[in-house]
């Protein structure tokens, strides 16, 4: 049970007539000499942590230490009950508010699961819990969705990168969005190759995204990028389920992300030296928070 690329993963799954989640579960069992129950329960534990974070962020007034973020997930929830018309619709705002909720909990030094990183930790829970609502999924399907996203993240991490410092926001929020899109495709009963198409479609729309957090903190624009990542993942999953295919194969999109990240200047890779961090307002926040400015 071994794969290195998304193409190999899909080939393995389809030749064995198994879903992607099953391939990932068996690979983990093989590699670490663990039982199915051990592997499954550890992941189920991660799902529980995600659920608590979603609930906390939607129901409690979050505030980060810097004061830059917190409370926006609740704001969207209130808007959803009060607005006469929702322009983007209830489903989109469900995923957006949940993704933001977890991301706000993270910024406030709460407990989250890094998926694949803490900076992008809102997207997968936002997507899985929203898709589960729509599809009426059971707990096992949701845990399996985490294995699907893990399998995709494994390919991205080993062939490119998943951290903003190494590859920009495309590597973090981009990877999380792609992973979540693939997970929702399997939840909805799509094929392994449709999951792979969802990865390509989602990631293509994140290429080039830089990591330019204000004051170097995982807050602005990270929380809102998590929100939009969730929305993009949901649309990408629908597109793949509809049979839309990416012109560029998934692994080549991942490779493109890698090369773009390599070419990205250091000032746009989590150093707080460029982009939004270097705007007058970004700098003013930095001075207010730290009493100094990074040179």
């Amino acid at each position: 049970m071994n794969f290195r690329t998304v193409a190999e993963l899909v080939e393995l799954a389809e030749s064995k007539g198994m879903p992607i989640s099953e391939i990932m579960i068996q690979k983990e069992m093989d590699t670490f000499n663990k039982s199915r129950q051990e592997v499954f329960e550890q992941m189920a534990g991660n799902l529980d942590v995600m659920e608590k974070a979603v609930r906390k962020g939607l129901n409690e007034q979050m505030k980060s230490h810097s004061g830059l973020t917190g409370g926006d997930a609740m704001k969207i929830r209130t808007y959803m009950t009060e607005a006469p018309v929702l322009l983007s619709g209830r489903d989109a705002l469900d995923v957006v508010s949940r993704s933001m909720a977890v991301s706000e909990v993270n910024a406030a030094m709460g407990t989250v699961v890094a998926t694949p990183t803490a900076g992008a930790c809102g997207i997968l829970p936002g997507c899985v819990f929203t898709a589960a609502d729509r599809l009426d999924s059971d707990r096992e399907t949701m845990v399996r969705a985490l294995f699907v996203s893990g399998a995709i993240g494994y390919c991205i991490a080993n062939n490119a990168f998943i951290s903003g410092a190494a590859g920009g926001c495309q590597a973090e929020v981009g990877s999380a969005t792609a992973m979540s899109a693939a997970a929702m495709v399997e939840m909805a009963g799509g094929s392994p190759s449709q999951s792979a198409e969802a990865v390509a479609i989602a990631l293509k729309n994140m290429l080039g995204l830089v990591c330019d957090p204000v004051a170097g903190l995982v807050e602005a624009p990270c929380v809102k990028r998590n929100a939009m990542g969730g929305a993009i993942a949901m649309v990408a999953a629908d597109m793949a389920l509809a049979g839309v295919k990416s012109v560029i194969p998934t692994d080549e999109v991942i490779e493109a992300m890698f090369r773009i990240g390599r070419d990205m200047p250091v000032s746009l890779k989590e150093t707080a030296l460029g982009g939004l961090a270097a705007t007058p307002t970004g700098r003013a926040h930095e001075r207010r928070i730290f009493g100094k400015s990074a040179e």
Partner: protein, 218 residues
């Protein structure tokens, strides 16, 4: 493959806000603590690259010290790590280096007490994963994702074979192995990642071998 487990990707469960600057940093601190084998009295931490520029906002300092206190990434005491260290009598100094390191998220930790000292360099490679890349001047690669045995020995023929024989006798399989030395014929370090756990008895047996000067299970 840098990432071997699905839980490297979906995980760790951690206190925010940054997997590389908080969780990865905590794991570097904890690895240093494990290698040192006890709570140090004095620690000097040199930060490079993005760690040096943004550590305050991400709680990298707090997390490194939390790791030195043996806290896991999801330990809720993490937030108070600096105070807890102070109360435990650990003196911590931070240095922001302007030097360019190979990896943007690099920390060098110098741990000491009356019994000895240890220098460890770790990099946080993303998603909460870390690697120890230098130990007391030896270059190495240690991720902590598999059990590992660190054996210091005289750089002499047969040393590697003797250690491997002990492991084989206990049916412990070697998954990955590297040998590092500063200079030919002097002290050397073996890093052996194993598929099975190495217990105290095996550790004792290896330390009693000729030419072996130290054994640490990581």
């Amino acid at each position: 493959m840098k990432f071997r487990s699905v839980f490297d990707i979906i995980g760790p469960v951690m206190i925010g806000p940054s997997s590389s600057h908080t969780a990865g940093a905590a794991r570097i601190g904890r690895a240093a603590r494990t290698l040192f084998g006890r709570l140090p009295q004095r620690v000097t931490i040199t930060l490079y690259g993005s760690f040096a520029k943004t550590y305050q906002g991400h709680g990298t300092d707090v997390a490194l010290v939390g790791g030195l206190l043996d806290f896991d990434t999801d330990d809720e005491r993490m937030v108070q790590a600096l105070e807890i260290a102070r109360e435990s009598g650990v003196e911590v100094t931070f240095i922001e280096s302007e030097e360019v390191a190979d990896h943007p998220n690099t920390a060098r930790l110098h741990l000491e007490d009356d019994q000895g000292d240890l220098e460890v360099t770790g990099i946080s490679i993303g998603g909460g994963k870390m690697e120890i890349v230098e130990l007391n001047g030896f270059e190495l690669r240690l991720s902590g994702s598999a059990p590992a045995l660190l054996v210091t020995h005289h750089d002499r023929y047969g040393a590697v074979a003797k250690v491997a024989t002990v492991l084989a006798n206990h049916r412990i399989n070697i998954g990955y192995m590297q040998v590092s030395r500063k200079e030919k014929g002097l002290e050397a370090l073996m890093i052996i990642e194993t598929d099975q756990h190495v217990d105290d008895q095996v550790q004792q047996e290896i330390s009693s071998l000729e030419d072996i000067t130290g054994v640490t299970v990581f």
